[in-house]
């Protein structure tokens, strides 16, 4: 949580003996993250001024002319639309040329005098927004009437403010006093406690509190104050509230906010007139109970909401938001002031349900959802009572404080040697004790044992390691030496799938295919656009229950949509894509996490030449075709020593005549081919778009490290063979027949030519093969070669009805 701490406020409770920048750095290193140090930027042309005279603008009903004296001896006349000015008021005045915040753009700008309805404004009286103090732009920021005229505003009103990002384990730092405690420890100076009202233990007449749910509300206290005069709070208090980021309202509300900012403990003030039965009750909301809250909304209170009620009805949502009916009004004279402790998770849950969580939520809820110490309750109440007496004329009639099950104070017993054991820094006993005491711990040595009790406001300390951190951070992490761990190294495991995956990545990149990484959460609509009829190619995906955007609302069960999307966007500005992605797809499993199935997806489309536009002088222009894709897939399989095939399977979403797929035990592990042109059209892709998907685990399982042999010692014999077969006969069958007939002396077979033509007759085609024959045991003679070729020819004729042409 981001809080703003005005330095002048901090100085009230601790002596700051170093420059503010150094303090900020030391807090940042040892205590709480410092987001920044904000300094007043108002220049010499922004000063306090007194309104001497107010007149109507002669040419405009909604404008006034204010004559202001700002110490220069010659009053200036400014035109203003504000309605809250009075003669004699002290206001911030900017002379021409001053830098202010432009009320419309919110940016810094230089003030230029310009005529408004015919009268030139010689300067400007400023709102809080124009001073950069808040977003308040309705009226002029009225200053303390005791301020001198003509003073530099930055000197009388300027605050240096520390912007601190707090972590939820440190609710004690939610108040200025908590930060002061840290500063005192870091700088080894002493802390001053805030002045408190002495509260007797006399319960007030006409006010009682009751806890119905002791788990949700462990402590509940209230004070009754009479004779309250509602009015503005003192200017210094308003200035601090503004500097800390809160808007002043009236003295009573301002004081509750002031105490919250000072101690971290929120309070709530009720108009005692509205309390039926003179009682405040912490109880669960009744079913169907509703409440109009301070923000003017009528809210139905969800089940499990803790409310503060009177004898008859809910007055507010406990710890989160007050109700409108019992709020402080201008004529309030008797105030019931609530100060309580709530169970943080319940506050968090309710704030979430009411949409009052997070930075836009209620300031009280954000604090109560952290584990504030119940011990703060009487302190904050006494502090508020003192301020109400001093600044709102209040008389404290009495206080009631219910705390049925006081929290046990934590005390940590540990060895002094635990500090070096965990930190690896030698911090001795004396230093350990000194640091803990600076942090207001009670710390004592008992032989080798350290007994440490944190201050009551510290709810984050429970175990020895917590104490170690306290000592370590205040001693300074910069004292940590740099060590490289020694000791026994663990036995490492092999990771065959990951190793294989990385070889595949390198292989594809080596083949000239560019790797992409796309979002693993996708638009569910994409999955309906992967086949011509919209039927799915993958199982129904896992859904994100609270997606940030519909475009990222399901866990992709296929890589295909991501590839098509990447190709589509790239082809808008280039002639060619060759891309691949290796990532898991997420396949739901019953009563389990999804299977994360690592998959290779690749896509090629467009110009096949590896060149950019217009650099094709050496290479004839051509487009990628399905053989290019197959080349990459085969090359990868070759590189990775993969031996797979399996059964032919369907390839939904691909061109039925130009695709191939293989499955093993019902699991399709490879599809490759041309995208169905109807699908291509949906994705604005060229009809000739080619893609392949490979199940990495299946390929890896079939990959065998090659069994190598020495290079051949005997010469090879080459024979070319033309084989005429029916057009319907697949090439693979012919090749398989050749291989099986030729036997072990066939080293390789390659296709030299594929021919269809009139000489062959209709429905026929001719493959020209080159066979490389070689024996491991000797040189093959003519007769050996002829015998093999006759065997091959015979098989082809017999099995495939082929004719052989020489």
């Amino acid at each position: 949580m981001l809080i703003k701490v005005p330095v002048s406020w901090l100085r009230e409770y601790v002596d700051i003996t170093v420059p503010i920048d150094e303090l900020a750095l030391r807090l940042h290193m040892s205590s709480t993250e410092v987001k920044g140090v904000e300094r007043p930027w108002w220049g010499d042309k922004i000063r306090t001024a007194r309104v001497e005279k107010l007149e109507k603008h002669p040419n405009a009903d909604k404008l006034q002319l204010a004559t202001v004296e700002y110490g220069a001896g010659s009053p200036k006349t400014v035109v203003t639309g504000a309605t809250n000015l009075k003669e004699g008021a002290i206001v911030p005045y900017a002379d021409e040329g001053a830098e202010i915040i432009d009320g419309h753009t919110g940016e810094r700008a230089t003030l230029r005098g310009k005529p408004m309805r015919g009268i030139k404004s010689e300067g400007m009286v400023l709102s809080q927004k124009e001073l950069g103090l808040s977003d308040e732009h309705e009226g002029i920021h009225l200053l303390d009437s005791k301020l001198p005229v003509g003073a530099l505003l930055r000197e009388v009103l300027g605050e240096t403010v520390l912007a601190l990002e707090l972590q939820p384990n440190r609710p004690d730092c939610l108040g200025v006093v908590g930060i002061a405690r840290e500063v005192a420890a870091i700088l080894a100076t002493s802390l001053r406690e805030p002045p408190l009202e002495r509260l007797g233990d006399q319960p007030p007449k006409g006010l009682d509190v009751r806890i119905e749910d002791e788990q949700a509300c462990p402590r509940f206290a209230a004070a009754l104050l009479t004779g309250v005069r509602i009015g503005p709070s003192p200017a210094w208090m308003q200035a601090r509230l503004i500097a800390a980021g809160m808007r002043p309202i009236d003295n009573v509300v301002d004081i509750t906010n002031y105490v919250m900012l000072e101690l971290g403990q929120p309070l709530h003030a009720y108009d005692h007139r509205k309390l039926r039965g003179g009682v405040l009750v912490a109880r669960q909301a009744h079913r169907g109970e509703s409440l109009r809250t301070l923000d003017g909304l009528d809210r139905l209170l969800p089940e499990g909401t803790l409310v503060i009620a009177d004898a008859e009805r809910a007055l507010g949502v406990a710890g989160i938001l007050g109700g409108e009916d019992s709020e402080i009004r201008e004529d309030t004279t008797t105030v019931a002031l609530e100060c309580a402790s709530f169970e943080p998770r319940g506050i968090g849950r309710t704030a979430t349900k009411l949409d009052l969580r997070g930075s836009s939520g209620s300031a009280a809820a954000r604090r109560f959802s952290w584990d504030l110490s119940p011990e703060l309750v009487p302190i904050a109440l006494a502090r508020a009572c003192k301020l109400l007496r001093e600044h709102a004329g209040a008389k404290v009639e009495g206080v009631v404080d219910r705390y049925p099950n006081p929290r046990r104070r934590v005390s940590v017993r540990m060895k002094f040697s635990d500090v070096p054991r965990v930190m690896g820094i030698d911090i001795d006993r004396a230093e350990t004790l000194d640091i803990l005491r600076r942090l207001q711990f009670t710390a004592a040595a008992d032989g080798d044992t350290l007994v440490a009790t944190p201050p009551v406001v510290r709810t984050d300390i429970a175990i020895a390691e917590d104490i170690v951190e306290e000592v370590g951070r205040i001693a300074g992490y910069e004292r940590l030496p740099i060590r490289i761990p020694d000791g026994q190294l663990p036995l490492a495991e092999r990771h065959p799938l990951e190793e294989f995956r990385e070889r595949a990545r390198d292989g594809l990149a080596g083949f000239g295919v560019q790797e992409i990484v796309s979002y693993s959460l996708i638009d569910p609509e994409w999955l309906k656009q992967l086949t011509a009829d919209g039927s799915p190619i993958a199982p129904e995906p896992l859904r994100v229950l609270n997606p940030t955007t519909l475009a990222q609302s399901v866990a992709r069960p296929t890589l295909r949509a991501s590839l098509l999307d990447a190709a589509r966007r790239n082809l808008r500005n280039r002639a060619s894509v060759a891309i691949f992605e290796i990532a898991p797809v997420y396949l739901p499993r019953r009563a389990d996490l999804p299977e994360e199935r690592w998959t290779i997806g690749m896509l090629i489309a467009g110009n096949a030449q590896p060149v950019k536009d217009g650099e094709t002088w050496l290479t004839a222009e051509r487009r990628f075709d399905v053989r290019d894709l197959q080349g990459i897939v085969d090359g990868l399989s070759d590189l990775l020593d993969v031996k797979t095939a399996g059964d032919r399977a369907d390839a939904p979403g691909l061109h039925p005549g130009r695709s191939i797929a293989f499955a093993r035990e019902g699991r399709t592990h490879m599809v490759s081919g041309q995208l169905d042109p109807r699908v291509a059209e949906k994705w604005e892709l060229p009809a000739e778009t080619f893609l392949a998907e490979i199940d990495l685990a299946v390929w890896q399982a079939s990959s065998r490290p090659p069994r190598v042999a020495a290079p051949p010692r005997f010469p090879a014999a080459l024979r070319d063979l033309a084989v005429v077969v029916d057009d319907a006969t697949p090439y693979a069958e012919v090749e398989r027949a050749i291989r099986s007939a030729a036997g072990k002396d066939l080293e390789s077979v390659s296709l030299l030519d594929l021919y269809r033509g009139p000489q062959l007759g209709a429905g026929k085609k001719s493959f020209t093969f080159r066979l490389v024959l070689r024996s491991q045991t000797g040189t093959l003679g003519e007769a050996d070669v002829d015998r093999i070729i006759r065997r091959v020819a015979g098989r082809l004729q017999q099995a495939l009805g082929a004719s052989i042409r020489e």
């Binding site: 290193m29 040892s30 993250e33 972590q167 939820p168 384990n169 943080p344 998770r345 968090g348 969580r357 997070g358 959802s369 054991r421 965990v422 690896g424 820094i425 390691e465 951190e469 951070r473 992490y477 940590l480 030496p481 060590r483 490289i484 761990p485 000791g487 026994q488 190294l489 663990p490 495991e493 990771h495 990149a509 000239g512 560019q514 790797e515 796309s518 693993s520 959460l521 129904e540 995906p541 859904r543 994100v544 229950l545 997606p547 940030t548 866990a555 790239n570 894509v577 891309i579 739901p588 499993r589 019953r590 009563a591 996490l593 994360e596 030449q609 590896p610 650099e615 050496l618 290479t619």
Partner: protein, 351 residues
Amino acid sequence: MAGEDLKELADRAVAEITAAADDAALEAARVKYLGRKDGALTEAMKGIAKLPAAEKPAYGAAVNDAKRRIEGALDERGRALRSKALERDLGAEREDMTLPPRRVRVGRLHPISQTVREVSRVFATMGFETVEGPEIEWDYYNFEALNIPPGHPAREKWDTLWMSNPLGDDPSRPILGRTHTSPMQVRIMEQRKPPIRVVIPGRCYRYEATDAIRESIFFQYEGLAIDEKLTMADLKGVLYSFARQIFGSDRKIRFRVDYFPFTEPSAEIAFDCFACEGSDPACRVCGGDGWIEAAGCGMVHPDVLRRVGYDPARYQGFAFGGGIERLAMLRTGAPDIRLFYQNDLRYLEQF
């Protein structure tokens, strides 16, 4: 022909051969002296038959000597002529070598892959094994096992994308996109016994608005080391060594206090800015304060150890975690995290 004459013959031949101006002249000289039909030396060799037996050896030796000299001269002159011809050709042939080549297509690994590998490689030098784990996780591993029970205020640090299984959800076991790689700390400790040194790269998810430095889907790396005597100083050393290997040997490292529910003590580590070394108040890399926040880290919380059955009185160790994209951006000057996932090839081809 006498021995003296043979020597003269050879002298004459060598002189002629050496003077031969081109291949044709050289060939003519060869035929003239060594020609099979009526080369001068061939003829001289035939004369040996007519000599008395006692003169034959001396004469034979003289012939062989002459032949060797002539052949040597032919070889030498031949080489000289070829080398001259080559020189002439090389001088004449002029290919424009600045013309574009027959290009090969170049594929590159995505910067995320490159960075993940780099991280694994560097930690491997310190004995850390790379392991991986599920991206879609149980609430238990992502939060509860890491001391972040439901309702814990620290959950706000990790705004979560919750998932629903189309085959049925179990309300008592919510699933989510892991918000960090830290659940793998628990999974690894459940599977193994100390000593442990692992680094876990992987994809993570957050419910978060994206901007130039934040993505809702991103990659992290996690480190975990458990043994009997590991301290914060060892943690500092490991991350210091990492920083040196990634950003250069003269890097400085800074630890400051931080908070994570599953480490105690906790720290945040920053490296001094490799770009400006703290000297440029407007530095694009560090934002001007001279330090680059790189990772959260700390000593594994005793409760986390206890939950996986380790005895915190015997074992202790550290964990750390940082962003892969952030490293990639720092190393390459990549301006906007979102560009990594837009897969514009004009961008990716630069890495």
